[in-house]
């Protein structure tokens, strides 16, 4: 999953980037409102964590512009403003959740997970794919009681395919899920990760879970 954090505090940027990456998310950081707007409109993010008091452009302005551009990414406002009117303004402008600083990192993570599930219309964190189960909260996949040893990128791709079960996902979309704004991987990297996934699944005698539609992409039935 890919997350954009729009936050001007360098210390919060640092801790959020590190923490969310360690949880398996791809994280981009924007330090001001204008950068945040540009990132949000051009990156395919699953969740945007948005501060309200930002240099150059306020968080509410960012939110307004993002929603005006028909971007339907889930937005979680993370602000020191705790007044009810601030929450109402944020939610009415199109935010999906509001968390007041100081916050518990675990609570932030739980809310991000909830927003991701909402984005993919998934009520529970466990996605049952038949032979395997994907726990999107722990970013783990199980075959019976056995846990697969997937890499973070393989897990991200599997989760994304699981969330979009029945839909063909283009390699470029999957690439976006494993690359942040500062990294670049070629399309071949996706084939490598898919191959790695299939190999680890086959080792458990699970074959044909991830299917390929030539010229279009990958999908799970």
């Amino acid at each position: 999953m890919k997350i954009l954090v729009v936050e001007d505090s360098k210390k919060l940027q640092k801790s959020l980037r590190a923490g969310l990456r360690r949880l398996g998310y791809v994280v981009d950081i924007a330090a001001d409102g204008e950068q945040g707007t540009a990132f949000a409109m051009h990156g395919d993010y699953d969740v945007i964590v948005l501060d309200l008091m930002l240099p150059r452009k306020s968080g509410l302005e960012v939110l307004r512009d993002v929603r005006a551009s028909k971007c339907n990414t889930e937005v979680l406002i993370l602000s020191a403003r705790d007044q009810t009117r601030d929450r109402i303004a944020g939610l009415q402008q199109g935010a999906d959740d509001y968390l007041v600083k100081p916050f518990s990192f675990d609570e932030l993570h739980a809310r991000i997970q909830a927003l991701v599930r909402r984005r993919f219309k998934q009520k529970t964190p466990i996605i049952d794919l038949g032979p395997i189960r994907v726990d999107t909260s722990l970013h783990l996949a199980y075959h019976g009681a056995e846990c697969f040893d997937f890499t973070p990128s393989e897990m991200s791709i599997l989760e994304y395919l699981a969330f979009n079960r029945g839909r063909v996902i283009a390699p470029e979309t999957l690439l976006n899920q494993i690359n942040d704004a500062n990294s670049y991987s070629s399309r071949n990297a996706i084939e490598v990760h898919i191959s790695g996934l299939r190999k680890k699944l086959r080792a458990e005698k699970i074959d044909g879970l991830i299917k390929t539609r030539r010229g279009f992409g990958y999908f799970i039935e």
Partner: protein
């Protein structure tokens, strides 16, 4: 608790009750007296009728009385009584009504043992003029009665008019026979009327009093309705509805000034309330940011201690904690200064030395950002001020100037001393340009040009703190923008008589 409504109601009811009681007594007295007078007048008329019937023909006194013309003296039921005595006290005539109770007659007779002549002992008649005396008594038939006694000189009357004229001429007035007539009648009818009138008056009084008791509270409430309405309006004002006001237009003249004055007080309370709420909100906001940084860094660091730049977390946490510490300290200073709870100990302060120390404290930041603080051209004097608070003011001003200058900027300090006072001005180019409108806000707590917080040293209370302390020490402080530079000047700093320090360099 005292109630105006109850006080007014009780006072009015008691007052009206007293007025009614006094009025009742007065009316009762007047009417009773009038009734008695009317009664007595009627009695006297009857008695005088008997007087006119009493005649002296030259030889004897006789009463020309016929029962058939005055049947009331013979009526078996409720009779009236009369008696006619001569001047010597002898009874000349009495009504037949006495016959019903002969045993009682003697009790009502004049004192026969009294001296004769022109005196009428027992009746108080001392002279020859007519005298009328009314007395209350119990009638022979047992009823309560009233009697009128009239002393009179018996008129001369003779069938022979010549003789009558002769007698008139020959018998002087003082020698004519005297007589007294006593007419009695029951007075129970009078007492009944008086009693009925008493009851009537009491009834009327009670009815009026009842009407007063019923109507006064209502009228009082109606009269106090604007006050009650105002009370309700005031009661509806809560911290959530501080913008509400009491209706002052169209109020009675007694209420309008109170309502207007109350609204003025509400204006001030609302301003203070908004200011305090804003202050609390700002404080909470400013405290939240460094706390959020500390908490987030600590939680992530504790969870993933193998994070590659984990060591930098400690520095970041320490920096945020220092920021928090400074913020709390400044807030405390601000609160104390605004409460006037600051002790000012004035002494000589070497301004040049103080400026050098502050510049030295900012040297590292200035060096890292290639910022230069030019020393003042004029030698800074020794001034009279509290050294602690003057240092805090100058530290804030210079620190503020450095923080809000672009990298590579030159900061200027200018000092002028004249007329025993010194003026100190600091100016710097602006990293974020301020407008003239912004200048109105620079001394406000938590005001910043950019809406973003800076996680560095400035929370937006430095200049408000400076102003607060400058006010306490009696300095004037002014800020303005000119030529792309932000200027701030302290003036009215008293120059000491001590030696000035050499210019700093």
């Amino acid at each position: 608790m005292r109630s105006i409504s109850k006080t007014i109601t009780v006072t009015i009811i008691i007052s009206i009750g007293l007025i009614l009681a006094l009025g009742q007594v007065a009316i009762d007295f007047a009417v009773t007296r009038w009734l008695t007078e009317q009664f007595d007048t009627a009695m006297e008329a009857r008695a005088r009728a008997l007087v006119t019937l009493t005649k002296f023909d030259g030889s004897e006194v006789e009463l020309d009385f016929a029962d058939e013309f005055m049947p009331e003296f013979e009526a078996p039921a409720e009779p009236q009584y009369f008696e006619l005595f001569l001047g010597d006290g002898s009874l000349l005539e009495r009504s037949h009504s006495f016959d019903e109770n002969p045993a009682l007659r003697s009790a009502d007779q004049p004192d026969r043992a009294a001296p004769t002549g022109h005196r009428f002992p027992g009746f108080g008649f001392e002279d020859q003029s007519d005298e009328v005396v009314f007395t209350d008594l119990r009638l022979p038939d047992g009823r309560m009665g009233r009697r009128v006694a009239i002393k009179f000189i018996v008129q001369i009357e003779n069938e022979d008019e010549l003789l009558e004229d002769l007698l008139e001429d020959q018998i002087p007035l003082q020698d004519r026979p005297r007589a007294i007539v006593r007419f009695s009648r029951e007075r129970e009818s009078l007492d009944r009327i008086r009693q009925h009138f008493h009851l009537f008056i009491i009834g009327i009084t009670l009815i009026i009093l009842l009407a007063v008791v019923v109507s006064v509270p209502r009228l009082t409430r109606a009269g106090l309705r604007p006050l009650i309405r105002m009370k309700d309006e005031i009661g509806a004002i809560t911290p959530q509805t501080m913008d509400h006001r009491v209706t002052d237009r169209g109020q009675p003249i007694e209420i309008e000034p109170i309502a207007s004055q109350f609204n003025l007080v509400l204006d001030e309370i609302e301003k203070a309330f908004i200011r305090e709420r804003q202050f609390s909100s700002d404080v909470a906001h400013e405290l939240r940011t460094p706390v959020a940084e500390i908490r987030s860094l600590a939680e992530v660091g504790l969870r993933w201690p193998d994070e590659k730049d984990i060591r930098t977390y400690f520095g970041d946490i320490h920096e945020s904690a220092q920021h928090l510490d400074r913020l709390i300290e400044n807030l405390l200073y601000l609160c104390r200064s605004e409460e006037g709870n600051i002790e000012i100990v004035v002494g000589d302060v070497d301004l040049g030395k103080l400026l050098d120390e502050i510049r030295a404290s900012l040297a590292a930041e200035c060096e890292s950002r290639a910022i230069r603080i030019d020393p003042p051209a004029n030698a800074p004097p020794v001034v009279v001020a509290d050294p602690q608070w003057l240092e805090l003011i100058l530290q804030n001003l210079l620190s503020n100037a450095v923080s809000h200058s672009p990298n590579g900027a030159n900061l200027g300090i200018e000092i002028d001393a004249d007329g025993g006072y010194c003026r100190l001005e600091i100016h710097n180019p602006m990293a974020i340009p301020l407008t003239a409108e912004d200048i109105d806000h620079v001394f406000q707590r938590f005001w910043r040009k950019d809406t973003a917080r800076e996680t560095g040293r400035h929370a937006g209370i430095g200049l408000s703190l400076v102003k607060s302390y400058a006010d306490l020490m009696g300095f004037d402080i002014d800020a303005w923008v000119a030529d792309g530079r932000f200027h701030i000047a302290l003036s009215r700093i008293e120059v000491s008589g001590a030696t000035t320090s050499p210019p700093a360099g």
